[in-house]
Amino acid sequence: MATTGSDSERWERDTFRAAPERDAPFSTISGEPVRPLYTEADLPADPDGVIGFPGEYPFTRGVYGSMYRGRLWTMRQFAGFGTAAETNRRFRYLLDHGQTGLSTAFDMPSLMGLDSDHPRSEGEVGREGVAVDSLGDMQTLFSGIPLDEVTVSMTINAPAAIMLAFYVVAAERQGVPAERLGGTIQTDILKEYIAQKEWCFPVDPAMRLVGDMIEWCASHMPRWHPVSISGYHIREAGSTAAQELAFTLKDGLTYVEQAVARGLDVDDFAPRLSFFFNAHIDFFEEIAKYRAARRIWARELRDTFGARKPESWRMRFHTQTAGVSLTAQQPLNNIVRTAIEALAGVLGGTQSLHTNSFDEALALPTENAVRVALRTQQIIAEETGVANTIDPLGGSYFVEALTDRMEEQAYEYFGKIDQLGGMVEAVKRGFPQREIADAAFRYQQELESGVRKMVGVNAYTEGDDLGPEILRIDPAFEVEQVQRLRTIRERRDADRAARALEALVEGARDPGENLMPLLLEAARADCTEGEMVSRLQTVFGSYREAPVF
């Protein structure tokens, strides 16, 4: 006989209340209350329709029919520091140790569209990622790596179109045409204004560039993901799991809306949109988040946008463990945190995964720490047995109830954002920014009052480990990079470069023109990233945030 709500009430009254509870918050890290027990009564009313089967609408249980029994997730460690040559060496090290895809971290000047010799780049070159100023740097970065065999991810947004142009031309010079390139470029500009805050242009022209890329890739790069709609940074900025889910999906739906408004058929580009989520430390909440995300995306694409291809309904995503959950205190504990988070990503059905290194609350990771992080994934894949069956938590009373709750909260946010006039307008008004700042502050207060415990930080603080060895970026990199850049400017065909930049400015003035072909020509002419961005800014302007706290 099925368990009903009144059965659980009886149990709670007669049996559960017999013993007092511990003094603990009993809520998720996002503040969502958690009951002592979940039962069959918490399952959705129509479990077959809502939970369904892997590889079938609404994809709650996974986007592919065979999931990890067919193919394991891609182990993709994010790397980048110093010069392109240095990062190229780290890439080859990772491939040699069994990594199956590459992921590029760019330095701050590259993310902001500044060349390495710009006065504002001083002290920042190669610090938090690799410095890429020109086509030459991109060629060095992937030298000796067959770009038709390895998939490459690039985490860059405001100047994404320029980096894509460098990449396509670098591959061209390897003899690999654009249509054979597989990989992802992040390009998710809305979450930059919301959370990561690396921008070049105001919101509207930045949105146009995203549209140009989606359009160009739809016809030239069938294996490429032109946008990776990202919740990762939203979560790192302090959002709750529900906010990460809601803002990310709403960003994605906004890109779809824009592309459709440009006249594209949704089925021509939607299959190439992919997602990127955080794996935070609250295990079940994260799994529920991924499951809810798949279901919402499938429904919205099918029912709101009328997509007919199942590939358009399928939400595929990359996961990275939560940097913000790592502690500088007792850093070895971070290996455990990362393993648990990675497991949540896997049980949530991720397509690829980055595991953080235990020393990342201190500095960029050392080679040793990166190897342990990669091994963590390999242990999950090869030893634990969790990849033997698909969605092993499907049907769990708790996980299904949390999944439903996540979905409900996402739609509440969609409603609020629609009332503000959509995501672009909400971002301009600072709505998601404020929601995240409030959540971050609330969490910090919970931590400081001791309601939330963080091992090594506000609990079990004795016996702090000695700091591990940390990676130091040699300041000589900056000098070397600036020198390379100057050499490129001196040696190139100055007339061709000037003409390419002029054409780019002309193109920017015409909102109907797709800028990708012009950026490709500028890349071939050895124009630098900073030159292209600053010339585009003469038409588009730049962005300054009204700071709210």
Binding site: K197, E198, A363, A440, F441, E545, P547, F549
Partner: protein
């Protein structure tokens, strides 16, 4: 002097450099405000020149810098130098971020009053600034 008539401490919270990690800066700004201080938050991507100009214009008692880009050894000494040039070296300078311990030592020798690394509480920051400004 009673607490009510006591002049409010004025603090500039600033994000020098190119990184966009403003979670910590915003939390600190709010905590200092809640503790009764007058807080001016500069917003992101500020140059040392812009920050020092804000400190002077706002007649601030303290400036809290937040950096997570690894550029602290370039940006912080520059802020200190500009403050000295402007005759404002009595302003209490604190720094928050992922700062390796060797760098903490060096920055303190250069004149940074305190460095708050990951795990530090807002309460520690509030107390420190209150005591340092009143000293």
């Amino acid at each position: 002097m009673s607490a009510a008539t006591e002049k409010k401490i004025r603090v500039v919270v600033a994000k020098p450099g190119l990184d966009g990690h403003d979670r910590g800066a915003k939390i600190i700004a709010r905590a200092l405000r809640d503790a009764g201080m007058e807080v001016i938050y500069t917003g992101l991507h500020q140059t040392p020149e812009q920050i020092v100009e804000t400190v002077i214009q706002e007649d601030a008692d303290a400036v809290g810098l937040s950096i997570l880009s690894g550029a602290h050894m370039t940006l912080v000494p520059r802020v200190l130098e500009l403050l000295r040039e402007q005759g404002a070296d009595d302003v209490v300078v604190t720094l928050g971020g992922t700062i390796p311990s060797d760098d903490v030592k060096e920055l303190k020798e250069l004149g940074v009053a305190e460095v708050f690394t990951p795990g530090a509480s807002t309460e520690q920051a509030v107390e420190f600034i209150r005591n340092a400004v009143r000293a």
